[in-house]
């Protein structure tokens, strides 16, 4: 039983990384209609940036938690302004391909600069060690990562549903033309939303940095699982992205614990089942084909 609780916690922590990134992916898709292939690379950049900040500028984890998302926001803004923008009018597949090419460039650049071996990063002071609840030993950092991602997801959820900014973004997602008719400059919102989505991926990267191996390739597998997450959750749905993120994290953790051979495969089987039974995803709206 105690093991089961440990695996659950690990799953929820890993799920937090997926949920945060998938949230970013879903927000970008919602407003721009772009599926950002480079999301995994941005997650990797977030982790690499926090490791580099620590090594070269001695910026710790807590500061990185704030600085890295801001840097990634800037990166996202540049990406949208310089590249993604030109293809928004075309079929979304073009931006999918564009961001794929960008992924190759980013991953290769990081590989050239920092090598293929992992960058060092420690669990921040105060979050190391384990806490015992009864007979169960739980990693403090995993609890923190899990709670932190839940808080951020809830905050983003509240931002989208309870504030004026959120209302505008949701309106722009649902009916861009009507939103424009109401006097809102939708084009102006596109860039910050893209940056925001990228920042979320970067934030997930910072959170993952203390527990995962920080390499140029760490986003490669991540992005494909992320696609599985959004297919399961339904790409148009913010709630779906978060719930499916935690779900996939759990499935993965139980898989690694109880059936290590099939751990990775189970996620895709889950995806296949969802596609079979409910093609639009657990929380997705029916597609108009």
């Amino acid at each position: 039983m105690s093991e089961f609780i440990q695996y659950t916690l690990q799953g929820l922590a890993a799920g937090g990384f997926y949920a945060l990134s998938a949230l970013g992916l879903a927000v970008i898709f919602g407003v721009l209609g772009v599926v950002n292939f480079s999301h995994g690379a941005c997650y990797m950049l977030g982790a690499v940036l926090s490791a580099v900040l620590l090594a070269e500028l001695n910026v710790g984890f807590w500061a990185a938690l704030v600085i890295v998302p801001i840097l990634m926001f800037g990166f996202g803004v540049l990406m949208e302004r310089l590249l993604v923008r030109w293809l928004l009018e075309l079929d979304p597949l073009y931006n999918f391909l564009l961001t794929f090419g960008l992924t190759l460039v980013i991953v290769e650049a990081v590989k050239q600069r920092y090598g293929v071996s992992g960058l060092p990063y420690q669990v921040p002071a105060g979050l190391g060690g384990q806490v015992s609840v009864g007979s169960v030993n739980l990693s403090v950092y995993a609890i923190f990562a899990c709670l932190f991602s839940v808080v951020v997801c809830v905050a983003v959820g509240l931002l989208l549903t309870k504030t004026r900014i959120g209302m505008i973004v949701r309106a722009a997602t649902e009916a861009p033309d009507r939103t424009r008719a109401l006097g809102i400059n939708v084009g102006l919102w596109v860039t910050p939303v893209f940056g925001f989505g990228i920042a979320l991926a970067g934030l997930a990267g910072v959170l993952a940095a203390p527990t995962r191996a920080i390499t140029a390739e760490m986003g490669s597998n991540f992005i494909i699982i992320l696609f599985a997450v959004v297919v399961i959750g339904g790409l148009g749905s913010i709630l779906g992205a978060v719930v499916a993120g935690f779900l996939v994290g759990l499935v993965e953790a139980y898989g690694i614990a109880y059936a290590p051979t099939y751990a990775q495969i189970v996620i895709f089987v889950l995806m296949a089942l969802v596609v079979l039974v409910r093609p639009s995803g657990l929380f997705g709206r029916e597609e108009v084909a």
């Binding site: 599926v35 590249l83 030109w86 293809l87 075309l90 079929d91 979304p92 597949l93 073009y94 999918f96 391909l97 564009l98 794929f100 090419g101 960008l102 992924t103 190759l104 460039v105 980013i106 991953v107 290769e108 650049a109 590989k111 050239q112 490669s220 597998n221 494909i224 696609f227 599985a228 959004v230 297919v231 790409l235 051979t261 099939y262 990775q264 495969i265 895709f268 089987v269 995806m271 296949a272 596609v275 079979l276 093609p279 597609e287 108009v288 084909a289």
Partner: protein, 339 residues
Amino acid sequence: MSEQMTAKVDVDLAQPSILSRRNPLRYVMLLAGLAVLVMLPYWIYPPVAMDILCWGLFAISVDLLLGFTGLLSFGHAAFWGGSAYCTGLIATHWGVPFPVAVIGGAVFAMLIAWPIGYLSVRRTGIYFAMVTLAFAQMLYFIANQARDLTGGENGLQGIPRNFFGIELVETDPFYFYYVGAAMILVGILVAWRVVNSPFGRVLTAVRDNPARARALGYDVERYKITVFIISAGLAGLAGGVFAVSHQFASLQELMWTTSGKVVLITVLGGIGTLWGGLVGAGVVVTLEDYLASSGFEGIGLITGTIFVVIVLLFRHGIWGTARNVLRRYVLERRGRRRD
């Protein structure tokens, strides 16, 4: 998402070729193409020539889906790599002549394409790309786990190249090229036949207006699954020849980067042009070969940049651009003659 990729780039594919069947230029181009095919191993290192043809057919198989059915498969590595492994296993364990093994590999690719296609066509557009990508990754993990069969990270080494005891083909890459090229040519002919058939017409209809195609009584999903399986078979054929040519099948063949590379080749050659795949493969494979031999390590930087640039500025691809130029020229001349 109903508007498909090709429709927006105004590559008016549905139009018949600008050169009528009687036009001698058609035959000149066909002969020139065949001549290049024959002369290729004289000009460049034969294994590289073989690679170009394999990647070319692979790209054509992707174009069959992307250009003619409007489906972007981002998981075609599953069929290329799956067939590479299957071909290798058949050739190693049964010692049959390699064309038989390659056909076995292609059939295997079609067999796995059936369930993958069945599930994937339930989604369209960008979702289709993501679902196929995920399924291909699943196959990658399976191959990685099944170490006894696939050799895991070491791959399948020393695939024999039996060919009816004809030693020249078995040992000399130069002669092997011609046998391999013949097999690839068969694949290309199949693709060409599919596109230029009533079946291909329905595919174009499905691409341009799925709702109308359905209203006209065509079972859209069945057509999509069928062309998906055909495409997988062609990718498998290419992957099998590739594995025999290298006498090696590795996890690299199943990686999503392989799926990405073939899409890059297809877009570079020109979406919906069929022949563009061969041109794109020629460019990408020779470039990679050149970069690798010059000791440059960041190949991803170059291919990634090419990808970004062609998607931003050069969406018609090489063949598509050439065709548009030719069309303009021919139309202009016709216009002048009428005056």
